[in-house]
Assembly symmetry: C2
Homo-oligomer: 615 residues x 2
């Protein structure tokens, strides 16, 4: 056995990986873990799930050849080891920094990232597309989807499975099973997976079959027939019957996800089969970092400020999310019709207190935003007051449900939209810049964008009790602005300084406008539909500067212009907003880049004389 | 046995239903079928699936009490019997007519329609919401989702199942299993259902258990334990193990869906259980109408013109859909990288020729629009040219996949968006009025809206070969305008008559503008992004009238105004478009109602002098 130390820094590492001994691999895994922990504790990022997937990733790269074989990582919370092994070791210190390595998969970053990731449950569909493309081109390589059990609560994963099982492709699905979504995983399917996970008798039967497969250099017809004879009595006894087999896959597992030899054996078997294979791998979230092993939920992700030893449970106490959660709790004290719904984001959306106090009417539906909205509409039709708390970017997955299941019938549901605006280090797949344009296309919808904690409380109450149809309250990640000069409101506030110039905005950036001399300021809090009074207030001005921490196309800036034009406004109108997608960088840096920081806004109002709308 | 004839017209029928004899029920079912066939052959509507659900519906209403028990019909293609039994017999002749009975569920139409329907796969989530609301209120009634196997290909159904199985609710899911989506059902799950369907040994085991249940007045702990002892060897032999049991349901079935006594027995058993139950009912699509039994796909729906005996296979040959399908075929002759994807709409989108000729690269993914887009993006990343043909309204379900899986990475996929514009008799859940505002919020997207067959061909070619990112080509239901005066283009066309007034539009209605005197006409075909040349062309006019067969909020009318304003345009600008949702009526009537017919447009251009934007 060659016991030379291997180095993660070795540029030839990927090519040499398959020739390493198991002890060398184990040493490599230790080195990888060290690097991940070091980097995430400094830069922030996803910790627990990445630590759980180290051996799995090393074993995959020993058996398959990226980029000829296509690795599709679901979400991307488990992709760091893959990045370290595929030429991104040197830049890894820039993880989640501006111009640095992304925390998710980015095909433009590396040919080894076969498909973009960030949102959940996409990998099976994407890998099936890649596998079909290869089949059509006569390419015999594999497409491999690596997906956690949390992502399996999303309907898209099921749609993918439903189509993949019947294909004739070199498609391999690796279930990285750690019993966790971001918090504890939920739902019947999760329970089902866990029932397989723990079944050792089952494991033994599986091992026998795997052994048969592994000892057969070319998988001949007899073995194929054996596997595909899905109706045979033999199968149901020896091979049991998992849901995955029912859906057309060969099922291999459960495999110990921290045993490289066992992982490799399974992957080699899967590779030989040349038909859709489902490999069930058991992993421990947070593996190798004690605080994360004990409390993987809290260490799902660390903030960009990194690991704070004085806050060992990585708790956030001062944030819009927390204020939202606390206010909802206090409203629920007095109103037992209030129900809270989350899609696997109990902590992220500040609903943990509600869940603890009102478990009976708290619903964590898993990563299932479509269901969350339709279920909420059902609750509402049954006389309840549902509040679905969700991140701005993930609400996109509920678009049809908002439109069809809530808006048409004018059903009253409340949305608590967290992470609205720039989200910082998560980058383009997570930006909260598109919810406003999206919601403006949904009739019977009202949108509030509070700029302070107090306004969030006021808006939530108004959304629940004094708004029809879909009532959305959106607020950013993090804390309120340190200087909140203006009075709180759940409608709008015009602050006059006798200027002919009016600066208009909403959300957290509005407070920076109060520091700019020589302009009146219009703060919008109920941003849509636009009130008549707002239009008449605007008509008095010669110049209007609209600042929007959101996408320009279809945003409030464009909407207000079309309404003002109808009223006869013909003055200057300058929209400063975001075009297209926005890469990772701190929220402060993003504001600066788009001219939405105090200095930028001041400049735009001073320098843009003689111009009209900048688009 | 009381053998008096019962009448469907009897206003007390619903109340008396449970006291009828089986022969009386059978007579009633014959009467219902007759009424449905008569009405649909005259008014158009969904035929095959409604005929398959007659006995099922009668049996449900004998066992459950609507509206105290909540009936949630998925899609609504099977809801006609329910409508006839719940007080809508007299108005049934107005089915799908303006101001008439909807072809889908509409809570505003009747308290017996517990939840809106039209799009697929929503019923389990909605029924679970209703069931939970009842549980929280201490109401012991049931929520019942009735869902076809076709709708089970949608991920939302799975998200609902995943959450429902673990609940403690009086929730019953009825699978109406006819082996069809709109065309033949697809996917591993469908195959799985069919494998259960045909298993008679299994049926016998089931029957035994049902009998136990039915003979027990109150379901005691022993039986509950028997059922929930899911790990026991007994279960796997006697009770087999279906996916649904794995997910936490009691599974009853398969039941003969045309045998009222058997149906009732199963429903009574389900009712007693007081926990989530899954009842598997086998039905025959088109039951009782020979042409539909023989060819249920062709008789899935009849057009509003009704049944044409000279066209016994109900074939459409002259339509935008057909032109799209034929053009895609001819392009695929020369380019083997073209792949076609449909979500259970092979015929509706005109892809049947492609499917027949290029089965190897044709994908019917089931009712799974999310998967369709992500899968297409996977094909594209693998070097293929995927074209996803989908109805405008159903594309809403792919919003997040368009944004996240295609747009961010600027992946080139083509969308063939059928049923764009007013769709007529299907009403508000199916209108193709929102795709443009939706797509305008997705960066890296180009939208074409051809107004003639020839333009559709030109646009499709341009979308495939001369457009980046997401390239959407949208076109209406039905045939091209009979008078197509203007030259075909895949860009835009300005027709000058020396006027100071400019009429601007896109899609089929643009041709009516050429008949209006005294205005220049700008036809947009590539509608987004708006070309610079279009802006400069518009700048020459004093008055611009924008006519949009689509939603105003976030549409091209608003977009063009904001761009023109930036260029310095300050003239009159009048947008005529659609606000909110639009109820069923012929497309011609809808155009008239919104001022988008020739007469309306002429009036708006003549009468609105001295006004500015009408919003």
């Amino acid at each position: 056995m060659n016991n030379d130390k291997v180095s993660l820094k070795d540029p030839e590492l990927l090519r040499e990986l398959s020739s390493l001994t198991i002890p060398q691999c184990e040493q490599l895994c230790r080195e990888i873990r060290k690097k991940i922990i070091e980097t995430v504790c400094r830069n922030g990022g996803h910790l627990s799930s990445n630590l759980g997937a180290v051996e799995l990733t090393v074993a995959l790269h020993r058996v398959f050849r990226s980029p000829a074989d296509k690795f599709v990582w679901d979400v991307g919370h488990q992709v760091y080891t893959h990045k370290l092994l595929t030429g991104r070791y040197d830049d890894f210190s820039t993880l989640r920094k501006e111009n640095g390595i992304s925390g998710f998969c980015r095909p433009e970053e590396s040919e080894h990232d076969a498909f973009i990731s960030g949102h959940s449950s996409t990998s099976i569909s994407a890998a099936l597309g890649l596998a079909e493309a290869m089949r059509l081109s006569g390419d015999r390589h594999h497409a491999i989807a690596i997906i956690g059990d949390g992502a399996f609560t999303g309907g898209l994963a099921y749609e993918g499975l439903n189509n993949a099982g019947k294909s004739n492709d070199n498609l391999i699905i690796i279930l990285n099973h750690n019993d966790m979504s971001i918090s504890k995983n939920v739902g019947a399917f999760a329970k089902y997976l866990t029932s397989i996970r723990g079944n050792t008798a089952y494991l033994d039967a599986k091992k026998r079959i795997e052994n048969i497969l592994c000892k057969t250099p070319v998988v001949g017809e007899p073995i194929k027939n054996f596997i595909t004879a899905s109706k045979s009595a033999l199968k149901s006894v020896l091979y049991h019957s998992t849901m995955f087999e029912d859906m057309g896959f060969v099922y291999l597992g459960p495999i110990d996800g921290h045993n490289i030899a066992e992982l490799e054996e399974a992957f080699r078997a899967a590779k030989k089969l040349r038909r859709p294979v489902f490999v069930h791998v058991n992993t421990v979230k947070g593996k190798g970092f004690r605080p994360a092993e004990i409390n993987p939920g809290a260490f799902h992700a660390l903030p960009s400020s990194g690991y704070d030893r004085s806050n060992p449970n990585n708790e956030v106490t001062d944030s819009f999310s927390e204020v939202f959660g606390a206010k909802l709790c206090s409203l629920a004290d007095k109103d037992d019709s209030i129900c809270a719904v989350t899609a696997a984001m109990k902590y992220g959306t500040g609903l943990q207190h509600f869940a603890a106090k009102y478990g009976n009417r708290f619903y964590d539906v898993g990563i299932a935003e479509q269901h969350a909205v339709t279920f909420s509409a059902g609750l509402a039709k049954g006389g309840k007051l549902p509040v679905f708390a969700v991140y701005s970017s993930f609400l996109q997955r509920s678009y049809d449900q908002l439109m069809h299941d809530a808006a048409i019938d004018n059903t009253h549901i409340v949305l608590g939209i967290d992470r609205a605006g720039f989200v910082g280090e998560d980058g383009e797949t997570h930006q909260g810049l598109y919810d406003v344009p999206m919601l403006l296309t949904v009739p019977n919808t009202t949108v509030y964008s509070p700029s302070t904690y107090k306004e969030l409380e006021m808006c939530l109450e108004r959304a629940l009790y004094r708004t029809d149809g879909i009532a959305a309250v959106r607020y950013p990640k993090g804390t309120e602005h340190e200087d909140t000069f203006a009075e709180d409101t759940d409608s709008f506030l015009l602050t006059r300084n006798g200027s002919r110039k009016l600066a208009v905005s909403y959300g957290r950036i509005v407070h920076d406008l109060y520091g700019i001399d020589g302009c009146d300021v219009l703060k919008l809090v109920k941003i849509y539909p636009v009130e008549k009074e707002i239009l008449s207030a605007c008509m008095d001005y010669d110049e209007i500067y609209f600042f929007e921490e959101g996408s320009r196309s279809g945003g409030i800036g464009e909407k207000l212009l079309s309404l003002l034009y109808a009223e006869g406004y013909r003055g200057k109108y300058v929209i400063t907003a975001v075009d297209g997608f926005v890469k990772q960088a701190s929220a402060a840096r993003c504001l600066e880049k788009y001219g939405l920081d105090p200095e930028g806004m001041r400049k735009i109002m001073a320098l843009s004389e003689g111009m009209n709308v900048e688009t």
